[in-house]
Amino acid sequence: MNDLQQMRDKAASVFEQLGFPTTREELWRFTDVSALANQEFSNDWSPASVDFLPLGEFYLVFENGKLSPEKSNIGGLPEGIKVGSIMDRADDRFGTLADTQSAFVAANTACFSEGAFIEVADGIELDSPIHLIYLADADGAAFHLRNLISVGVGSTFSVVEEYIGTPGTAYWTNAVTEVFAADNATVDHYKIQRESKTAFHFQTLEAQLGKNAVFSNHAIALGAALGRNDIRGKLMGEGGEAICNGLYLLNEKQHFDTHLFMDHAVANCNSHELYKGILDEKSKAVFCGRILVRQDAQQTDAVQSNRNLLLSRGAKVHSLPQLEIYADDVKCTHGATIGELDEVALYYLQTRGIDPARGKAMLTYAFANEVLNEMKSTPVRTYLENLVHEWLEKVSG
């Protein structure tokens, strides 16, 4: 990684030039990061005492931004799969996907000191997901985490990124993940964000798909006072398919922002996006989903939907589904809905002897479950079902 220092210097100067984004910029119109920008973060390190539950045989654990070999388990990985720290590996493709003009990516590139590196050779199939666990409880710390995941031709692979923080601690996670899915590869990427509700969480996920590659991303957000996911998919080979689903469950004064960008660069690709949100108390959600179909990306099939359920007065939603289409032989749709629970459905349940509180909980869970249902990994799904139930109980109780 000879060029790394050069890359870092360049990124540092980009960040210096850009600074933190302001709400005057279109992409940051509804998300004010001044609270983050005005804070100083320290580099002191301490071990983290946060509980976690591994969702597969193999897992990497990062404690307050540092890899903990003791807590991790990557022994006995099948041949052809390499999992380790990004600091120990070199890959020419590093930094080629992530948007160099984003302030958060620039800060990450300039400062990152840890992250996961996963390389899957061609023709490998692994059922159990690799679980990347990021634990945080260091008040006033900033974690710039950098991950690179590369999946070879025809391989099937799944990975879970989970961010867990101790309630009450305030810190800043700034992660960047680059995913390369080669031709015919199938990659399932899960992201579970359970940061402390007083923390800042920002992640940029960039994925590039080869011919006939299938990439699915499931992003579940429960934590952080101020959180944002920037997800960008690039369909670079014909026959590619990208699935981006998400669920955000927010309460108190949480603010969560998803910016999704799907780039159909070539013909014959599909993309499907389903984002759902449940908002309670004074929480606020921003969803911006942009589908770009370039001039020669004929036969594109793109579907996007964003649905929001508002549980209380004071909850707010900004939804911006966008289509930008330069090819004619395409089928593109998007939809957005925002509202309360359906009173007719509630009434129906009541007539069947289900009291309103329980009826409400059932309908809310059903609303969220549509996203969970799309997940292929049973352990991940079960784990999330429990988290959603827990969240709903807290909200209704």
């Binding site: 279109e26 001039q295 020669d296 004929q298 929001n308 508002l310 549980l311 209380s312 007065r313 004071g314 909850a315 707010k316 939603v317 900004h318 939804s319 911006l320 589904p321 966008q322 289509l323 930008e324 289409i325 330069y326 090819a327 004619d328 032989d329 395409v330 089928k331 593109c332 749709t333 998007h334 939809g335 957005a336 809905t337 925002i338 509202g339 309360e340």
Partner: protein, 486 residues
């Protein structure tokens, strides 16, 4: 209503912009350039009261602090505002014609060519049932049926006359919907607007005929800045039509108009536009820059404002007719067809701002893009915290003809009240090849088939247009899409 009219395809054989002629008429205009003196001079020539002059000057000074907006998905070279002339009036207006007989026959001929009946006898003979205010180079030249309308207490005529005859009404309402600080083009308009239409419908009056303004740009190198103010008092109803054409010229011309609508309690306003400014030639040379601010204010309870627009002309369209739904139970509607061909660009849509309780809004937008055109829908639905039980339904469909054009959808949905029910749907597809094939089989050529399919695609919007406009709109659609296939 019958939409299929075999004549509507006659236009397909016309290969040129039909309204591209220039009327040779003496005009009285200011030299190019803009400063405070020009603003004061416009106001002086129009013999305006002091408060209006000062309002214009305030707007001018604010304008000098603004930058042109760049967020719209349109591209054009920067406009040199000092190269434009800000006032052009047909000379004859200075000795103000007392009746239609005194109007310059050249002008009457122009409007006859455009198919606008200014002679009331034609109307009486049953040709049309529309009262027309004709605006020529942003000066109102004639208003028909003024008398009949006056009997009902309806004030309809040019903006300048209204400033003279009903200053209290103008003062009360001007700038209350689109304030002079609103946006770059609206602010410019506030400083230099030359004329436009004014309309007031008194309490409980249902306007017995369609009111119409016909805008015609004639002079070269002039900017066109009309201002329309329409007020429907309690329980009133009015249906208003607006049409536009311009001569064929190689330079781009700026048209920055402002339309303000006010609907009081139980009032209803239906505002329809067929915009057919000169779109420029195939290579994108010339054409009108149509940068218009249109906004309606549902001030009272149970009021309703409905916008219907058919946008076929202009090199660039930048226009967002909006509704502020302040009164409880008020209703906002937006029906739009935007067609772009060749090098045309359109960035158009609406804003529905829900403030009152039980307010509802409907947005139906159909975009058709052909050639190398770019067509964007940009809209906002905002539900304020106070808007209990607000309801919105939006449907934005785009159709692409050819593989070098673009269709874009940028909705903004801001919801601040949990009782809101908001739905937005958008689709983008190619024109159906099997449908064209089906028509070909039945002996229709491809161009006719495209016309049929597109008219069907837009039917939901056309049915909202008054009869005469619906037929015209269909013809226009055909002409705009000429040469887009094959």
């Amino acid at each position: 209503m019958k939409i299929e009219d075999e004549n509507s395809f006659d236009g397909l054989t016309d290969k040129e912009y039909k309204y591209g002629f220039v009327t040779d008429i003496e005009s009285d205009s200011l030299p190019p350039g803009l400063d405070e003196n020009v603003v004061r001079e416009i106001s002086r020539r129009k013999e305006e009261p002091e408060w209006l002059t000062e309002w214009r000057v305030k707007a001018y000074h604010h304008w000098t602090t603004l930058e042109p907006p760049t967020w719209a998905k349109v591209e054009f070279p920067p406009i040199d505002y000092q190269a434009l002339s800000y006032y052009s009036a047909p000379k004859q207006k200075i000795d103000a014609p007392k009746s239609l007989d005194e109007v310059d026959p050249e002008l009457l001929e122009t409007y006859k060519k455009l198919g606008i009946p200014l002679g009331e006898q034609e109307v009486l003979a049953g040709v049309a049932t529309v009262a027309v205010d004709a605006v020529f180079d942003s000066v109102s030249v004639a208003t028909t049926f003024k008398k009949n309308l006056e009997e009902l207490g309806i004030i309809f005529g040019s903006f300048s006359d209204a400033v003279k005859d009903h200053p209290e009404l103008v003062k009360q309402y001007l700038g209350t919907v689109v304030p002079y600080k609103d946006n770059y083009y609206a602010t410019l308009n506030s400083a230099v607007f030359s004329d436009g239409s004014f309309c007031y419908i008194p309490k409980g009056v249902r306007c017995p005929m369609e009111l119409s303004t016909y805008f015609r740009i004639n002079a070269a190198n002039t900017g066109q800045f009309e201002r329309t103010l329409l007020i429907a008092d309690e329980g009133a109803y009015v249906s208003y039509l607006e049409g536009c054409t311009a001569p064929q010229r190689d330079e781009n011309q700026l048209h920055a108009a402002v339309v303000e609508l006010v609907a009081h309690k139980d009032a209803q306003i239906k505002y329809s536009t067929v915009q057919n400014w000169y779109p420029g030639d195939k290579e994108g040379k010339g054409g009108i820059y149509n940068f218009v601010t249109k906004r309606g204010h549902c001030r009272g309870d149970n009021s309703k404002i409905s916008w219907t627009q058919v946008e076929t002309g202009s090199a660039i369209t930048w226009k967002y007719p909006s509704c502020i739904l302040k009164g409880d139970n008020s209703v906002g509607e937006f029906y739009s067809v935007a067609v772009t061909n060749n090098m045309q660009q359109a960035d158009t849509g609406t804003k529905m701002i829900h403030i009152g309780k039980n307010t509802s809004s409907t947005i139906i937008s159909k975009g058709i893009s052909a050639g190398k055109a770019q067509n964007a829908y940009r809209g906002m639905v905002k539900v304020a915290e106070t808007a209990e039980n607000a309801r919105n339904f939006s449907q934005c469909d785009s159709m692409l003809i050819g593989d070098r054009c673009g269709a874009h959808t940028f909705p903004y949905i801001d919801i601040n009240n949990p009782t809101a029910q908001v739905e937005h749907e958008a689709t983008t597809t190619k024109i159906g090849e099997d449908q064209i094939f089906y028509c070909n089989q039945r002996g229709l050529d491809t161009e006719e088939a495209v016309g049929l399919i597109v008219n069907g695609f837009c039917k939901e919007v056309f049915k909202e247009l008054p009869m005469e406009f619906a037929v015209e709109a269909q013809k226009l659609l055909g002409i705009t899409l000429e040469g887009s296939v094959g």
